[in-house]
């Protein structure tokens, strides 16, 4: 078992003919992901990588191939449009890899998505993987191995670090989900933690957070009250200099400065073991086996 993606995933790639889109589609297919279609305006009727049909619109692609998930590799300026196009075509799960989408665009996109049944992962994220079944993202597939540890993370490459350390110890993963680091995004820690808690194939969960915002504090509340499975965490940015990115008014309104210390305290008081460095996560996880 796993969450969100697996053997049943039928993936459509938006921006499949671009450099990144093509490279990662090839990697996803090599991993065993069922890539059924691509969508690029003006490229309808072509084939990508020999056997993936390309459509002009997502709607056509979904109609022809019954795609149930899409992954977006288009520049930030076009990504909000791409997300909305997928949602409007009824795609259940949309993964947006694109980085640098203006926050106000995402506020609008998210407000619209909340009126549909589509779920969004990202933007500015590595995607997600169910080891041995489907890789829907840009992570290196070979560092993963099937198992029972669920992973949810705000950071891309830091997640790979943790997965690599787990796999090196022979500890496999049920699914690893990169929710992305943008201020406004699709699924957040809470939704993914709830899915892992309900998933029979997941026995424990790793949460990887960062400084900024209050998502980790909210996750801590959820873990305390709603979760029985053990959770291990790491928060990046314990030594980061403060105040380089966000003004204080943003922190006030969410009720906190978003420091690593605040987040670590909240998680510890919810019974979460917090690692001092990423590779220590694997040691803490091993203690729960």
């Amino acid at each position: 078992m796993s969450i969100l993606v697996g053997k049943e995933t039928r993936l459509l790639v938006q921006g499949i003919t671009g450099t990144q889109g093509l490279f990662h589609t090839e990697q996803m297919i090599a991993y065993g992901t069922n890539v059924v279609a691509g969508a690029v305006p003006g490229r309808g009727g072509q084939w990508a990588l020999g056997n993936v049909p390309v459509f002009d619109t997502v709607r056509e692609g979904v109609a022809a191939t019954a795609a149930n998930a899409s992954i977006i590799f288009v520049p930030a300026a076009f990504a909000p449009d791409a997300i909305l196009e997928s949602a409007d075509a009824g795609v259940e799960l949309i993964i947006c890899i694109s980085e640098g989408i203006p926050a106000l665009d995402m506020a609008k996109v998210r407000a619209y998505l909340d009126t549909t049944d589509s779920m969004l992962i990202g933007p500015n994220c590595p995607g997600l993987i169910t080891p041995g079944e489907a890789k829907v993202g840009i992570m290196a597939g070979h560092i993963h191995t099937p198992g029972t540890v669920g992973i949810v993370s705000r950071s891309g490459t830091l997640t790979y670090e943790v997965v690599y350390a787990l796999t090196a110890r022979g500890i496999g993963q049920s699914s690893a989900v990169g929710i992305g680091g943008d201020p406004i995004k699709g699924l957040n820690f809470l939704e993914i933690l709830a899915m892992f808690e309900a998933d029979s194939g997941t026995e424990q969960v790793v949460l990887i957070g960062e400084i900024g915002g209050t998502d980790e504090q909210n996750a801590a509340e959820f873990i305390k009250h709603e979760m029985k499975k053990p959770v291990t965490a790491f928060i990046a940015g314990q030594t980061a200099p403060p105040g380089k990115r966000m003004g204080h008014a943003g922190a006030i309104i969410s009720g906190g400065e978003g420091t690593a210390e605040e987040k670590i305290d909240a998680l510890r008081s919810a019974g979460v073991k917090v690692a001092r460095h990423p590779e220590e996560i694997a040691e803490l996880v091993a203690q729960n086996l």
Binding site: Q20, H24, Q27, A76, A77, E99, G100, I101, P102, A103, L104, A107, K108, R110, A111, P126, G137, I138, M139, A140, I143, S153, R154, S155, G156, T157, L158, T159, Y160, E161, Y164, A165, A168, P183, I184, I208, E210, I211, G213, T214, D215, F234, A236, G237, Q238, T239, A240, P241, K244, M246, G247, H248, A249, G250, I252, I253, S254, H277, P278, E279
Partner: protein, 380 residues
């Protein structure tokens, strides 16, 4: 990206928000000329991108044009929290009867724009939030509807504004919301918004922070960037599309991904070292970008060792390796390099680096410990 007070207020004025008459001067003579034109007492305000200008002596009144010239000559060239004052704003002195706070900000938890108002203007809103949070009134704006007039009235009545100002206040709040949305801001703030001697509302001080991700569609705003906001290395990094922050340690760090870059710094500290910088080469960096990043790191002569930690995904290890080889070939490298490449195309990357004389590592802890040892001149 931060805008200066004078830049923020000029934008406010374009959206119908009343601001004091005034102009910017870079010399005492210019300040005098502006004060002469205004023909009344003025306030001379240093234009630097830090808070606490008033307490630092960077804001002063002048009754006459001659006095304005003298005051400007004191303030221009002054050092405020490490920044040299190069410009002053010469504004007509405000006749302040009462002070209000009005700010627009992105509330990431609610995923909406929030507008805050307070009767306690003129002090930092953080202070009001800490001491008298009930004096702050907040409304959230639905992103698909925009700010409604009733929400502005809720703010105005909520802070006890006399009813003769409600219409004016609504116009200003809607103007400020438009400034925020149309410039892709992260914060747009008027503090204080005053009631003046003519019983009118006026924005006496203001601040705009822009969302860097929105700058691609606001070339005119991007051009307003003050190069003094960042160090020369940070400016050069931005030109190469690298995310770089100067720190004061001895281990130069080159990492892909902000989270991993922060975690790498955390681990450097944990093992007794000190990072010289935060550097995220971003997703999908090519060889040229890696070379540019190394050239910025190596220019810092405090750097005693370079730690390269790459976990390939959208970034390919072979591209990074080519960048490292190119940097070694073209730059004057005198410090040891510790390199760890894992992930997409790692084998190709390692082959490219095999010829170079580098310290390699397979785990993050190992790489960091080797870099800390190398920086101390020990061979790990």
């Amino acid at each position: 990206m931060k805008l200066h007070e004078y830049q923020s207020k000029r934008i406010f004025a374009e959206y119908g928000i009343p601001i004091p008459d005034g102009d910017v001067a870079t010399t005492p003579a210019e300040a005098k000329a502006i004060a002469e034109r205004l023909g009344r007492p003025v306030v001379i305000k240093s234009q630097v991108l830090v808070g606490g200008r008033g307490k630092a002596g960077g804001i002063k009144l002048a009754k006459t044009a001659d006095e304005a010239e003298a005051v400007a000559s004191q303030i221009l060239g002054m050092d405020i929290k490490g920044l040299t004052v190069k410009k002053v704003l010469v504004d007509e002195a405000a006749d302040i009867r009462s002070e209000i706070y009005l700010g627009v900000v992105l509330d990431r938890a609610k995923r909406q724009v929030a507008i805050m108002a307070s009767s306690e203007g003129g002090v930092e809103i953080e202070e009001v939030a800490a001491n008298t949070p009930d004096k702050i009134v907040t409304v959230h704006v639905h992103p698909l509807l925009g700010l409604q007039a009733y929400q502005c009235r809720n703010l105005a009545f909520g802070i006890g504004l006399p009813k003769e100002h409600i219409r004016e206040f609504t116009k200003i709040a809607q103007g400020l919301y438009q400034v925020f949305v149309e410039s892709d801001a992260g914060l747009a703030e008027i503090n204080p918004l005053i009631i003046n001697g003519e019983n009118k509302l006026q924005a006496v001080d203001g601040k705009i922070l822009l969302d860097d991700s929105g700058l691609f569609r606001h070339k005119e705003l991007a051009a307003l960037r003050d190069p003094d906001e960042d160090s020369p290395a940070e400016i050069e990094a931005r030109a190469s599309d690298l995310s770089y922050i100067d720190l004061d340690g001895e281990i130069g760090c080159l990492v892909n991904g902000a989270g991993l870059a922060m975690a790498t710094m955390d681990v450097v500290k944990l093992f007794g070292g000190s990072p010289a910088n935060f550097l995220d080469i971003g997703g999908g960096a090519n060889a040229e970008k890696v070379t540019a990043a190394l050239s910025i790191i190596l220019r810092d002569d405090r750097v005693k060792a370079v730690l390269i930690n790459i976990f390939g995904g959208i970034t390919r290890c072979d591209e990074v390796a080519n960048g490292i080889v190119e940097a070694i070939r073209t730059l004057h490298v005198t410090v040891p390099f510790v390199v760890r490449l894992v992930g997409v195309n790692e084998e190709e990357g390692r082959q490219i680096l095999a010829e170079s004389n580098l310290i390699t590592a397979s785990s993050l802890s190992e790489a960091v410990q080797k870099a800390v040892a190398a920086a101390k001149g020990e061979s790990a």
